[in-house]
Protein backbone atom coordinates (compact mmCIF):
# COMPACT_ATOMS: atom_id res chain seq x y z
CA UNK A 1 0.00 0.00 0.00
CA UNK A 2 1.53 3.32 -0.99
CA UNK A 3 2.13 5.54 2.01
CA UNK A 4 0.58 8.95 1.76
CA UNK A 5 2.90 11.89 1.55
CA UNK A 6 2.77 13.79 4.82
CA UNK A 7 3.50 17.44 4.33
CA UNK A 8 5.17 19.77 6.78
CA UNK A 9 1.95 21.38 8.04
CA UNK A 10 0.37 18.07 8.94
CA UNK A 11 3.58 16.75 10.48
CA UNK A 12 3.79 19.83 12.72
CA UNK A 13 0.12 19.54 13.68
CA UNK A 14 0.61 15.87 14.54
CA UNK A 15 3.60 16.47 16.78
CA UNK A 16 1.86 19.42 18.46
CA UNK A 17 -1.15 17.22 19.19
CA UNK A 18 1.17 14.55 20.43
CA UNK A 19 2.96 16.78 22.93
CA UNK A 20 -0.25 18.47 24.09
CA UNK A 21 -1.83 15.11 24.88
CA UNK A 22 1.33 13.94 26.57
CA UNK A 23 1.37 17.08 28.70
CA UNK A 24 -2.30 16.80 29.68
CA UNK A 25 -3.24 13.14 29.50
CA UNK A 26 -6.42 13.58 31.57
CA UNK A 27 -7.93 16.37 29.48
CA UNK A 28 -11.09 14.80 27.99
CA UNK A 29 -11.93 17.90 25.96
CA UNK A 30 -8.48 17.85 24.38
CA UNK A 31 -8.88 14.16 23.57
CA UNK A 32 -12.20 14.83 21.86
CA UNK A 33 -10.77 17.54 19.64
CA UNK A 34 -7.73 15.38 18.90
CA UNK A 35 -10.05 12.57 17.81
CA UNK A 36 -11.89 15.00 15.53
CA UNK A 37 -8.59 16.06 14.02
CA UNK A 38 -7.58 12.44 13.42
CA UNK A 39 -10.92 11.67 11.79
CA UNK A 40 -11.00 14.72 9.57
CA UNK A 41 -8.33 13.58 7.12
CA UNK A 42 -6.65 10.29 6.39
CA UNK A 43 -3.20 11.88 6.25
CA UNK A 44 -3.73 13.00 9.87
CA UNK A 45 -4.25 9.40 10.79
CA UNK A 46 -1.21 8.27 8.82
CA UNK A 47 0.91 10.93 10.47
CA UNK A 48 -0.29 9.80 13.87
CA UNK A 49 0.62 6.18 13.11
CA UNK A 50 4.11 7.28 12.14
CA UNK A 51 4.64 8.81 15.57
CA UNK A 52 3.09 5.81 17.27
CA UNK A 53 5.28 3.36 15.38
CA UNK A 54 8.60 4.91 16.23
CA UNK A 55 7.58 5.52 19.83
CA UNK A 56 7.04 1.82 20.21
CA UNK A 57 10.60 1.28 19.08
CA UNK A 58 11.75 3.80 21.66
CA UNK A 59 9.95 1.71 24.26
CA UNK A 60 12.83 -0.76 24.14
CA UNK A 61 15.07 1.92 25.70
CA UNK A 62 13.09 2.09 28.93
CA UNK A 63 15.83 0.55 31.11
CA UNK A 64 18.46 2.78 32.76
CA UNK A 65 21.52 1.53 30.85
CA UNK A 66 19.92 2.07 27.47
CA UNK A 67 18.65 5.48 28.50
CA UNK A 68 22.05 6.64 29.66
CA UNK A 69 23.75 5.37 26.54
CA UNK A 70 21.14 7.00 24.32
CA UNK A 71 21.61 10.35 26.05
CA UNK A 72 25.37 10.04 25.75
CA UNK A 73 25.56 8.87 22.17
CA UNK A 74 22.99 11.33 20.86
CA UNK A 75 24.51 14.41 22.46
CA UNK A 76 28.15 13.51 21.90
CA UNK A 77 30.02 16.21 20.02
CA UNK A 78 31.03 15.24 16.51
CA UNK A 79 34.69 15.73 17.33
CA UNK A 80 34.56 13.23 20.17
CA UNK A 81 32.55 10.92 18.03
CA UNK A 82 35.31 10.84 15.45
CA UNK A 83 37.89 10.09 18.12
CA UNK A 84 35.79 7.33 19.54
CA UNK A 85 35.31 6.06 16.02
CA UNK A 86 39.02 5.88 15.32
CA UNK A 87 39.79 3.87 18.41
CA UNK A 88 36.99 1.46 17.68
CA UNK A 89 37.96 1.17 14.03
CA UNK A 90 41.33 -0.12 15.09
CA UNK A 91 39.78 -3.12 16.80
CA UNK A 92 36.63 -3.59 14.78
CA UNK A 93 38.13 -5.02 11.63
CA UNK A 94 40.62 -7.46 13.00
CA UNK A 95 38.17 -10.29 12.68
CA UNK A 96 35.02 -8.98 11.13
CA UNK A 97 33.47 -12.23 9.97
CA UNK A 98 29.83 -12.82 10.78
CA UNK A 99 28.56 -12.20 7.29
CA UNK A 100 25.13 -13.57 7.97
CA UNK A 101 24.75 -11.68 11.20
CA UNK A 102 25.43 -8.44 9.38
CA UNK A 103 23.17 -9.39 6.54
CA UNK A 104 20.32 -10.22 8.88
CA UNK A 105 20.74 -7.05 10.77
CA UNK A 106 20.52 -5.02 7.60
CA UNK A 107 17.72 -7.03 6.10
CA UNK A 108 15.32 -6.80 8.98
CA UNK A 109 15.37 -3.44 10.67
CA UNK A 110 14.25 -4.26 14.14
CA UNK A 111 10.90 -2.94 15.15
CA UNK A 112 10.49 -3.05 18.88
CA UNK A 113 6.74 -3.44 18.87
CA UNK A 114 5.05 -4.71 22.01
CA UNK A 115 4.65 -8.06 20.34
CA UNK A 116 6.38 -9.09 17.18
CA UNK A 117 7.30 -12.23 15.32
CA UNK A 118 10.19 -12.91 13.00
CA UNK A 119 10.45 -15.01 9.88
CA UNK A 120 8.58 -18.28 10.16
CA UNK A 121 7.49 -17.62 13.73
CA UNK A 122 3.95 -17.50 15.15
CA UNK A 123 2.94 -16.39 18.60
CA UNK A 124 -0.10 -16.49 20.91
CA UNK A 125 -0.65 -13.84 23.54
CA UNK A 126 -3.35 -13.23 26.13
CA UNK A 127 -3.70 -9.53 26.92
CA UNK A 128 -4.51 -8.40 30.43
CA UNK A 129 -8.20 -7.81 29.62
CA UNK A 130 -8.42 -11.46 28.52
CA UNK A 131 -8.37 -10.75 24.78
CA UNK A 132 -6.42 -13.42 22.95
CA UNK A 133 -4.33 -12.65 19.91
CA UNK A 134 -2.31 -14.83 17.60
CA UNK A 135 0.33 -13.42 15.29
CA UNK A 136 1.55 -14.90 12.02
CA UNK A 137 5.20 -14.66 10.93
CA UNK A 138 6.68 -11.19 10.31
CA UNK A 139 3.96 -9.42 12.24
CA UNK A 140 4.00 -6.68 14.86
CA UNK A 141 1.33 -5.29 17.12
CA UNK A 142 1.22 -2.60 19.77
CA UNK A 143 -1.16 -2.58 22.68
CA UNK A 144 -2.35 0.56 24.39
CA UNK A 145 -5.09 0.38 27.00
CA UNK A 146 -6.51 3.58 28.49
CA UNK A 147 -9.56 4.38 30.63
CA UNK A 148 -11.71 4.97 27.56
CA UNK A 149 -10.42 2.59 24.95
CA UNK A 150 -8.42 -0.55 24.37
CA UNK A 151 -6.35 0.11 21.26
CA UNK A 152 -4.42 -2.39 19.20
CA UNK A 153 -2.15 -1.15 16.44
CA UNK A 154 -1.42 -3.76 13.81
CA UNK A 155 1.81 -2.37 12.40
CA UNK A 156 2.25 -5.17 9.92
CA UNK A 157 1.26 -8.77 9.39
CA UNK A 158 -1.61 -11.08 10.24
CA UNK A 159 -3.44 -11.27 13.53
CA UNK A 160 -6.31 -13.41 14.76
CA UNK A 161 -8.17 -11.76 17.62
CA UNK A 162 -10.62 -13.28 20.10
CA UNK A 163 -12.06 -10.52 22.19
CA UNK A 164 -12.66 -10.79 25.91
CA UNK A 165 -16.19 -10.53 27.26
CA UNK A 166 -17.52 -8.05 29.77
CA UNK A 167 -15.56 -4.98 28.73
CA UNK A 168 -18.41 -3.14 27.01
CA UNK A 169 -17.62 0.14 28.73
CA UNK A 170 -14.20 0.26 27.17
CA UNK A 171 -14.41 -0.55 23.48
CA UNK A 172 -11.67 -2.42 21.68
CA UNK A 173 -10.45 -0.66 18.55
CA UNK A 174 -7.94 -2.09 16.12
CA UNK A 175 -5.92 0.27 13.95
CA UNK A 176 -4.19 -0.79 10.77
CA UNK A 177 -2.79 1.23 7.89
CA UNK A 178 -5.74 0.53 5.59
CA UNK A 179 -8.65 0.62 8.04
CA UNK A 180 -9.90 0.92 11.58
CA UNK A 181 -11.96 -1.85 13.17
CA UNK A 182 -14.38 -2.07 16.03
CA UNK A 183 -15.38 -5.61 16.95
CA UNK A 184 -18.75 -6.39 18.45
CA UNK A 185 -18.05 -9.42 20.68
CA UNK A 186 -16.12 -11.59 18.30
CA UNK A 187 -13.38 -13.65 16.69
CA UNK A 188 -11.83 -12.22 13.56
CA UNK A 189 -8.69 -12.08 11.46
CA UNK A 190 -7.05 -8.90 10.17
CA UNK A 191 -4.20 -8.73 7.72
CA UNK A 192 -2.27 -5.59 6.93
CA UNK A 193 0.76 -5.91 4.73
CA UNK A 194 2.50 -3.75 2.20
CA UNK A 195 0.61 -5.26 -0.74
CA UNK A 196 -2.81 -6.03 0.71
CA UNK A 197 -5.18 -6.16 3.65
CA UNK A 198 -7.94 -8.54 4.70
CA UNK A 199 -10.69 -8.84 7.27
CA UNK A 200 -12.43 -12.18 7.93
CA UNK A 201 -15.02 -12.53 10.69
CA UNK A 202 -15.63 -15.92 12.28
CA UNK A 203 -17.89 -14.97 15.21
CA UNK A 204 -19.96 -11.88 15.96
CA UNK A 205 -19.44 -8.86 13.72
CA UNK A 206 -16.88 -6.14 13.05
CA UNK A 207 -17.41 -2.53 12.03
CA UNK A 208 -14.85 -1.34 9.52
CA UNK A 209 -13.89 2.21 8.55
CA UNK A 210 -11.56 2.51 5.60
CA UNK A 211 -8.69 4.85 6.39
CA UNK A 212 -9.71 7.39 3.77
CA UNK A 213 -13.35 7.33 4.95
CA UNK A 214 -13.06 7.53 8.70
CA UNK A 215 -15.90 10.04 8.99
CA UNK A 216 -18.40 7.91 7.07
CA UNK A 217 -20.58 5.32 8.73
CA UNK A 218 -18.81 1.99 9.08
CA UNK A 219 -19.23 -1.12 7.01
CA UNK A 220 -20.54 -3.99 9.10
CA UNK A 221 -18.96 -7.36 8.38
CA UNK A 222 -20.90 -10.29 9.79
CA UNK A 223 -19.72 -13.69 10.92
CA UNK A 224 -18.76 -15.88 7.95
CA UNK A 225 -17.87 -12.92 5.73
CA UNK A 226 -14.57 -11.53 4.56
CA UNK A 227 -13.24 -8.82 2.29
CA UNK A 228 -9.85 -7.91 0.97
CA UNK A 229 -8.20 -4.60 0.31
CA UNK A 230 -5.58 -4.10 -2.40
CA UNK A 231 -4.60 -1.59 -5.07
CA UNK A 232 -8.15 -1.83 -6.46
CA UNK A 233 -9.62 -0.81 -3.12
CA UNK A 234 -12.11 -2.79 -1.09
CA UNK A 235 -13.45 -6.04 -2.57
CA UNK A 236 -17.00 -7.33 -2.49
CA UNK A 237 -18.01 -9.38 0.51
CA UNK A 238 -16.88 -12.99 0.19
CA UNK A 239 -17.16 -16.12 2.28
CA UNK A 240 -14.66 -16.36 5.14
CA UNK A 241 -12.92 -19.70 4.77
CA UNK A 242 -11.02 -21.65 7.35
CA UNK A 243 -8.15 -21.91 4.84
CA UNK A 244 -7.61 -18.18 5.38
CA UNK A 245 -6.35 -19.19 8.82
CA UNK A 246 -4.08 -21.97 7.58
CA UNK A 247 -1.12 -19.85 8.70
CA UNK A 248 -1.98 -20.90 12.25
CA UNK A 249 -0.79 -24.36 11.25
CA UNK A 250 2.16 -22.91 9.35
CA UNK A 251 0.53 -23.82 6.07
CA UNK A 252 -0.18 -21.64 3.04
CA UNK A 253 -3.29 -22.40 1.01
CA UNK A 254 -3.54 -20.60 -2.33
CA UNK A 255 -5.87 -20.67 -5.25
CA UNK A 256 -4.59 -19.37 -8.57
CA UNK A 257 -2.31 -16.87 -6.89
CA UNK A 258 0.22 -14.98 -9.01
CA UNK A 259 3.68 -16.48 -8.60
CA UNK A 260 5.04 -13.05 -7.67
CA UNK A 261 2.56 -12.78 -4.76
CA UNK A 262 3.20 -16.35 -3.76
CA UNK A 263 6.92 -15.74 -3.56
CA UNK A 264 6.33 -12.65 -1.42
CA UNK A 265 4.24 -14.77 0.93
CA UNK A 266 7.01 -17.36 1.19
CA UNK A 267 9.39 -14.55 2.04
CA UNK A 268 7.69 -14.08 5.43
CA UNK A 269 8.89 -17.53 6.36
CA UNK A 270 12.36 -17.54 4.82
CA UNK A 271 15.58 -15.86 5.93
CA UNK A 272 16.63 -14.32 2.68
CA UNK A 273 15.46 -12.88 -0.59
CA UNK A 274 13.30 -14.83 -2.97
CA UNK A 275 12.00 -13.10 -6.02
CA UNK A 276 10.85 -13.98 -9.46
CA UNK A 277 11.79 -12.80 -12.89
CA UNK A 278 9.05 -10.84 -14.66
CA UNK A 279 8.88 -13.54 -17.33
CA UNK A 280 7.31 -15.90 -14.78
CA UNK A 281 5.64 -13.55 -12.28
CA UNK A 282 2.21 -13.89 -13.89
CA UNK A 283 2.14 -17.68 -13.66
CA UNK A 284 -0.50 -19.02 -11.30
CA UNK A 285 0.02 -21.20 -8.26
CA UNK A 286 -2.59 -23.31 -6.47
CA UNK A 287 -2.31 -25.79 -3.67
CA UNK A 288 -1.47 -26.32 -0.02
CA UNK A 289 2.11 -25.75 1.03
CA UNK A 290 3.74 -26.48 4.41
CA UNK A 291 5.92 -23.53 5.32
CA UNK A 292 8.52 -25.16 7.53
CA UNK A 293 10.82 -25.97 4.60
CA UNK A 294 10.71 -23.21 2.01
CA UNK A 295 13.47 -24.71 -0.11
CA UNK A 296 11.32 -27.80 -0.52
CA UNK A 297 8.34 -25.67 -1.58
CA UNK A 298 10.53 -23.98 -4.17
CA UNK A 299 11.78 -27.30 -5.51
CA UNK A 300 8.19 -28.53 -5.72
CA UNK A 301 7.32 -25.46 -7.81
CA UNK A 302 9.98 -26.36 -10.36
CA UNK A 303 8.21 -29.65 -11.02
CA UNK A 304 4.77 -28.11 -11.49
CA UNK A 305 5.75 -24.95 -13.37
CA UNK A 306 8.24 -24.38 -16.22
CA UNK A 307 10.64 -22.50 -13.96
CA UNK A 308 14.07 -22.97 -12.46
CA UNK A 309 15.80 -21.68 -9.36
CA UNK A 310 18.93 -19.58 -9.53
CA UNK A 311 20.83 -19.32 -6.25
CA UNK A 312 22.96 -16.19 -6.37
CA UNK A 313 23.83 -16.90 -2.75
CA UNK A 314 22.08 -19.28 -0.36
CA UNK A 315 19.92 -16.35 0.66
CA UNK A 316 19.25 -14.76 -2.68
CA UNK A 317 17.10 -16.93 -4.86
CA UNK A 318 15.60 -16.02 -8.22
CA UNK A 319 12.83 -17.91 -9.99
CA UNK A 320 13.11 -17.69 -13.75
CA UNK A 321 11.82 -19.37 -16.87
CA UNK A 322 13.36 -22.76 -17.50
CA UNK A 323 16.07 -22.56 -20.15
CA UNK A 324 15.35 -24.73 -23.17
CA UNK A 325 17.93 -27.47 -23.38
Amino acid sequence: MAALKINEDIAVQAVEWYFSLKESPQDAELQRSWKAWIDSDQTHYQAWLKIEQFNQELGSLANPISKTLTHKSVTLENKNRRQLLRSILAIAFVGAGGGIALQRHQLFPVMAADYRTGKGETRQITLNDGTRIELNAESAINVSFSINERSLYLLTGDVLIETARGEAARPLVVYAAWARFQPLGTRFYIRSREQDGLLAVYEGAVNLWQTDQLHFSPLRIESGQKLVFDQNGLSELMVAESSDLAWQQNILVVDAMFLSDFVKELGYHHHGWIHCDNSVSQMRVSGTYPLDDIDRVLRALTTSLPIELVYRTRYWITLKAKSKN
Binding site: A11, F19, E23, R81, N278
Partner: protein
Protein backbone atom coordinates in the same frame (compact mmCIF):
# COMPACT_ATOMS: atom_id res chain seq x y z
CA UNK B 1 4.29 -7.31 -6.36
CA UNK B 2 3.83 -4.45 -8.82
CA UNK B 3 5.21 -4.40 -12.33
CA UNK B 4 7.66 -1.64 -11.47
CA UNK B 5 9.01 -3.69 -8.60
CA UNK B 6 9.72 -6.58 -10.91
CA UNK B 7 11.55 -4.30 -13.30
CA UNK B 8 13.50 -2.86 -10.37
CA UNK B 9 14.67 -6.26 -9.28
CA UNK B 10 15.60 -7.13 -12.80
CA UNK B 11 17.50 -3.86 -13.05
CA UNK B 12 19.31 -4.50 -9.77
CA UNK B 13 20.22 -7.93 -11.05
CA UNK B 14 21.83 -6.23 -14.05
CA UNK B 15 23.67 -3.79 -11.82
CA UNK B 16 24.92 -6.70 -9.78
CA UNK B 17 26.22 -8.53 -12.84
CA UNK B 18 27.95 -5.48 -14.27
CA UNK B 19 29.40 -3.85 -11.18
CA UNK B 20 29.49 -6.21 -8.23
CA UNK B 21 33.06 -7.43 -8.69
CA UNK B 22 34.25 -3.89 -9.37
CA UNK B 23 32.59 -2.70 -6.13
CA UNK B 24 34.09 -5.59 -4.23
CA UNK B 25 37.62 -4.80 -5.33
CA UNK B 26 37.06 -1.10 -4.57
CA UNK B 27 36.00 -2.06 -1.03
CA UNK B 28 38.92 -4.47 -0.65
CA UNK B 29 41.34 -1.66 -1.38
CA UNK B 30 39.64 0.44 1.31
CA UNK B 31 39.23 -2.20 4.01
CA UNK B 32 41.65 -4.60 5.62
CA UNK B 33 39.30 -7.53 5.82
CA UNK B 34 38.16 -9.20 2.58
CA UNK B 35 35.22 -10.81 4.42
CA UNK B 36 34.09 -7.44 5.62
CA UNK B 37 34.41 -6.01 2.12
CA UNK B 38 32.22 -8.86 0.87
CA UNK B 39 29.64 -8.19 3.57
CA UNK B 40 29.42 -4.54 2.73
CA UNK B 41 29.18 -5.11 -1.02
CA UNK B 42 26.41 -7.60 -0.38
CA UNK B 43 24.77 -5.11 1.92
CA UNK B 44 24.74 -2.48 -0.83
CA UNK B 45 22.66 -4.69 -3.10
CA UNK B 46 20.34 -5.74 -0.32
CA UNK B 47 19.77 -2.02 0.36
CA UNK B 48 18.92 -1.48 -3.29
CA UNK B 49 16.40 -4.29 -3.13
CA UNK B 50 14.66 -2.80 -0.10
CA UNK B 51 14.51 0.71 -1.53
CA UNK B 52 11.05 1.97 -2.36
CA UNK B 53 11.96 3.00 -5.87
CA UNK B 54 14.94 2.54 -8.07
CA UNK B 55 15.18 5.22 -10.68
CA UNK B 56 17.51 4.71 -13.60
CA UNK B 57 21.00 5.43 -12.31
CA UNK B 58 23.29 7.39 -14.56
CA UNK B 59 26.61 6.85 -12.83
CA UNK B 60 26.22 3.37 -11.37
CA UNK B 61 29.69 3.17 -9.86
CA UNK B 62 29.55 6.54 -8.16
CA UNK B 63 26.10 5.63 -6.92
CA UNK B 64 27.19 2.26 -5.56
CA UNK B 65 30.20 3.72 -3.76
CA UNK B 66 27.95 6.36 -2.16
CA UNK B 67 25.71 3.64 -0.78
CA UNK B 68 28.73 1.62 0.29
CA UNK B 69 30.12 4.63 2.18
CA UNK B 70 26.81 5.19 3.90
CA UNK B 71 26.63 1.54 4.77
CA UNK B 72 30.12 1.66 6.27
CA UNK B 73 29.28 4.75 8.31
CA UNK B 74 26.18 3.02 9.64
CA UNK B 75 28.15 -0.04 10.45
CA UNK B 76 30.75 2.00 12.33
CA UNK B 77 28.14 3.88 14.26
CA UNK B 78 26.57 0.56 15.11
CA UNK B 79 29.91 -0.91 16.25
CA UNK B 80 30.62 2.14 18.34
CA UNK B 81 27.29 2.05 20.14
CA UNK B 82 27.39 -1.69 20.62
CA UNK B 83 30.85 -1.46 22.18
CA UNK B 84 29.80 1.33 24.52
CA UNK B 85 26.74 -0.65 25.47
CA UNK B 86 28.72 -3.78 26.27
CA UNK B 87 31.14 -1.69 28.36
CA UNK B 88 28.24 -0.20 30.29
CA UNK B 89 26.74 -3.64 30.88
CA UNK B 90 29.89 -4.84 32.61
CA UNK B 91 28.96 -2.70 35.60
CA UNK B 92 25.85 -4.81 36.16
CA UNK B 93 25.57 -8.37 37.42
CA UNK B 94 25.01 -11.00 34.75
CA UNK B 95 21.42 -11.95 35.73
CA UNK B 96 20.31 -8.41 34.97
CA UNK B 97 21.72 -8.48 31.45
CA UNK B 98 19.20 -8.41 28.62
CA UNK B 99 19.06 -11.42 26.31
CA UNK B 100 21.04 -11.40 23.09
CA UNK B 101 17.89 -10.59 21.17
CA UNK B 102 16.83 -7.77 23.47
CA UNK B 103 20.33 -6.39 23.22
CA UNK B 104 20.16 -6.36 19.43
CA UNK B 105 16.84 -4.50 19.57
CA UNK B 106 18.20 -1.95 22.02
CA UNK B 107 21.37 -1.28 20.08
CA UNK B 108 19.50 -1.02 16.81
CA UNK B 109 17.07 1.44 18.37
CA UNK B 110 19.87 3.60 19.74
CA UNK B 111 21.53 3.64 16.34
CA UNK B 112 18.21 4.57 14.78
CA UNK B 113 17.48 7.46 17.12
CA UNK B 114 21.03 8.72 16.63
CA UNK B 115 20.53 8.72 12.88
CA UNK B 116 17.10 10.35 13.07
CA UNK B 117 18.22 13.21 15.29
CA UNK B 118 21.50 13.74 13.47
CA UNK B 119 22.20 17.38 12.61
CA UNK B 120 19.95 18.97 15.26
CA UNK B 121 21.50 21.28 17.88
CA UNK B 122 22.51 19.35 21.01
CA UNK B 123 20.08 21.25 23.23
CA UNK B 124 17.16 20.39 20.94
CA UNK B 125 18.12 16.72 21.04
CA UNK B 126 18.37 16.82 24.82
CA UNK B 127 14.92 18.40 25.20
CA UNK B 128 13.50 15.66 22.99
CA UNK B 129 15.15 12.82 24.92
CA UNK B 130 14.06 14.28 28.27
CA UNK B 131 10.51 14.23 26.99
CA UNK B 132 10.49 10.92 25.12
CA UNK B 133 12.86 8.78 27.17
CA UNK B 134 12.46 10.24 30.64
CA UNK B 135 8.84 11.35 30.37
CA UNK B 136 9.55 14.85 31.66
CA UNK B 137 6.89 17.57 31.47
CA UNK B 138 7.49 20.96 29.82
CA UNK B 139 8.22 22.56 33.18
CA UNK B 140 10.86 20.02 34.16
CA UNK B 141 12.63 20.24 30.81
CA UNK B 142 12.57 24.04 31.02
CA UNK B 143 14.27 23.90 34.44
CA UNK B 144 16.76 21.24 33.41
CA UNK B 145 17.91 23.18 30.35
CA UNK B 146 17.34 26.62 31.81
CA UNK B 147 15.08 27.77 28.99
CA UNK B 148 11.49 29.01 28.80
CA UNK B 149 8.50 26.73 28.34
CA UNK B 150 7.74 28.21 24.93
CA UNK B 151 11.30 27.40 23.86
CA UNK B 152 10.84 23.84 25.13
CA UNK B 153 7.75 23.51 22.96
CA UNK B 154 9.56 24.90 19.94
CA UNK B 155 12.50 22.52 20.42
CA UNK B 156 10.23 19.51 20.87
CA UNK B 157 8.33 20.31 17.69
CA UNK B 158 11.55 20.81 15.78
CA UNK B 159 13.08 17.54 17.02
CA UNK B 160 9.88 15.53 16.54
CA UNK B 161 9.34 16.80 12.99
CA UNK B 162 12.81 15.58 12.10
CA UNK B 163 12.61 12.36 14.11
CA UNK B 164 9.22 11.13 12.99
CA UNK B 165 8.87 12.75 9.57
CA UNK B 166 12.43 13.58 8.45
CA UNK B 167 11.28 17.18 8.10
CA UNK B 168 13.78 19.91 8.84
CA UNK B 169 11.99 22.95 10.24
CA UNK B 170 14.98 25.28 10.22
Amino acid sequence: MSASEIIDQHYIGELYKDHHSWLLSWLRRKLDSPEFAADISHDVFVKLLTREENKQIHEPRAFLTTIARRSLANHWRHQQIEQAYLDALRAYPEPLHPSEEERAVIIETIVEINARLDGLPAIVKRAFLYSQLDGMRYQQIAEKLNISISTVKRYLTQAAAQCYFAINLQ
